[in-house]
């Protein structure tokens, strides 16, 4: 049964490669930076989706980092036990439990009008939906992944190290800054990698909020606040509409790229964690 897993993974890989062969053959490596995605004219370029995916994920990551660090430090160091800590920890786990479709639905009806008002204030086209809105929701969704790991790792800091620092007269802040942070740095980084992996592959909430346009934005401002598309969202939207082989296989090639990227990111993350916990 254990071997079955290896078979599933190899099967996934082979299926993706075989089904994307037509587009790999027809378009070659240029697929990745082709700027035009126009199924009607049979032109396929993945660049808009690569940019969209990276942009949403990184904005989400940047928004989420202060929160996940704060949660890790608070629950790992300041308040590791007690009802308040349990309550907060369970609440954060619930964030991960809410289905992404519900985040998307809520975002569409509550967050989009809010962002629209914000966009009018700062003077960009008030779409409401778009890359920025998706990133906001994504940021909330990925926080539990980085922080649950961070809590465990910060608690693993050996107390002799901390006690030695207190003994030298360090304040709480200095202990965290100079002892705990350097000690757990690689582990916290791994947590962020894992949440990045989540963000890259997240489909439903992003599909509902990003606006789904395959055109490349003309300025950075429009790229962030305007509508876009990610690899996952374009697959979700167009897969069942793809009416000829090349179109379909171009979409699958996107899936293949997504698969590779998330696998690499996850494996690096896990590798760092294993290394950290073994030491």
């Amino acid at each position: 049964m254990s071997a079955l897993l290896v078979i599933i993974i190899i099967g996934v890989l082979i299926t993706l490669i075989i089904e994307s062969l037509p587009s790999i053959k027809a378009l070659g490596i240029g697929f990745l930076w082709g700027k035009v995605w126009d199924p009607v004219q049979n032109i396929y370029g993945a660049y808009p989706f690569l940019v969209g995916t990276l942009l949403t994920s990184f904005i989400a990551l940047i928004i989420s980092i202060p929160f996940s660090y704060a949660i890790s430090i608070y629950l790992g160091e300041y308040n590791p036990k007690g009802w308040l800590s349990d309550l907060l920890k369970n609440t954060i786990e619930l964030i991960a439990a809410v289905p992404s479709i519900i985040y998307g639905f809520w975002g569409l009806f509550v967050l989009v009008p809010l962002v629209r008002t914000l966009e009018m204030k700062i003077g960009v086209a008030p779409y409401g939906i778009g890359v920025f809105t998706s990133s906001l929701i994504l940021a909330v969704m990925i926080i539990p992944y980085a922080s649950s790991l961070g809590i465990t790792l910060i608690r693993m800091t050996p107390s002799p190290l901390k006690e030695a620092a207190y003994g030298l007269g360090a304040t709480r802040y200095e202990v965290i800054r100079k002892v705990i942070m350097p000690y757990t740095r690689s582990g916290l980084f791994a947590g962020i990698l894992l949440s990045l992996g989540r963000a890259l592959g997240e489909t439903m909430a992003v599909t509902m909020l990003i606006g789904n346009t395959s055109a490349v934005a003309d300025s950075i401002k429009n790229a962030i606040f305007g509508p876009g598309n990610t690899m996952a969202s374009v697959i979700a939207n167009e897969f069942t509409e793809a009416d000829h082989t090349e179109y379909l296989s171009a979409l699958i090639e996107l899936g293949l790229v997504l698969f590779f990227v998330t696998v690499v990111i996850n494996l690096i993350g896990k590798r760092i964690i294993t290394k950290f916990t073994n030491n």
Binding site: S2, L4, I71, T203, F259
Partner: protein, 281 residues
């Protein structure tokens, strides 16, 4: 010197306040979302809503029976496939952690855990939907089963690994054959941990939409046939939420409320199990 330590202490206090602020502020979106969904959804839910299929646009009423039944059926089938396979794989991994096969399958569990659900959908489309020539509930279940596997495997493996070796050794020394030791001693001892893994995996896949888009697809009518398209709660929410009709939005709010309640209850059950038997996940 006095002033300096005062400054350092102030910095420490300020830092702590910032940390506390950020740590608690993040619960706000969750609370707002929960309250919003409950407020919008609870007015929709009544007996009629739970026992009828969606009404066409323009007609009043209608419910989500088809999606409830479909979600239930597909998750059940997925669980029937994933639980035995996952448990067996988990037992293997905990019993033989040093073999090469265990190393590679452990690696594959990690990979599978990180595979975006939409990719699972694509692959199952080519494995089942295309050969059968139609979208089907069976393929949806299969996709969900793949999503469940890593959670069941990891929880089984980790629970069993925590059991003391003396348990197994005591049974073996009494002359009990190996397979009976596993079935009658090891698995019952780790039962709570395995069970919490199962409830957690069900909570995770019941809200999955992306793998169902190209597999179970959706169906506005009540259907029990595994070889036909079938509606599910998350898919119904997706289709109706992105539709332009207010009646359909209300239906989707109701469905979101039900789905959210399922997920919350399953998570609480998992918490209770882990609390009661003190298992670590």
């Amino acid at each position: 010197m006095e002033a300096k330590i005062g400054f350092r202490n102030t910095k420490s206090v300020i830092f702590k306040s910032i940390v506390v602020f950020f740590a608690f502020v993040i619960t706000l979106p969750l609370i707002i979302i929960l309250i919003y969904i409950i407020k919008q959804g609870i007015t929709q839910v009544n007996w009629h809503f739970l026992t009828n299929v969606p009404a066409p646009v323009g007609e009043k009423g209608g419910g989500i029976l088809n999606a409830l039944w479909g979600s239930f059926l597909m998750v059940m089938v997925a669980a029937v496939v994933a639980i035995p396979v996952g448990m067996m794989a988990g037992i293997y991994l905990s019993e033989n952690s040093r073999t090469r096969l265990a190393y590679y399958s452990g690696l594959c569990v990690d990979i599978l855990q990180g595979v975006p659900s939409i990719v699972v959908g694509i692959v199952v489309y080519f494995w089942i939907v295309k050969p059968l020539g139609t979208f089907s509930a069976l393929s949806g279940s299969f996709a969900l089963a793949i999503m469940m596997l890593p959670i069941v495997i990891r929880s089984t493996e980790q629970t069993l690994r925590l059991l003391p070796d003396s348990l197994k050794e005591a049974a073996l020394s009494l002359g009990v054959p190996y397979h009976r030791v596993i079935l009658k001693v090891i698995v019952p001892c780790g039962f709570a941990g395995i069970l919490s893994g199962i409830t957690l995996s069900i909570a995770r896949v019941i809200g999955e939409t992306a793998p169902l888009l190209f597999t179970a697809f959706g169906n506005p009518y009540l259907s029990s046939s595994l070889t036909k398209p079938m509606e599910s709660l998350p898919h119904l929410i997706f289709t109706y939420a992105t539709s332009p009709y207010d009646d359909w939005h209300n239906l989707a709010w109701g469905a979101s409320f039900i789905l959210l309640m399922f997920v919350l209850i399953l998570n609480i059950v998992t918490k209770v199990i882990t609390r009661k038997w003190k298992v670590q996940l």
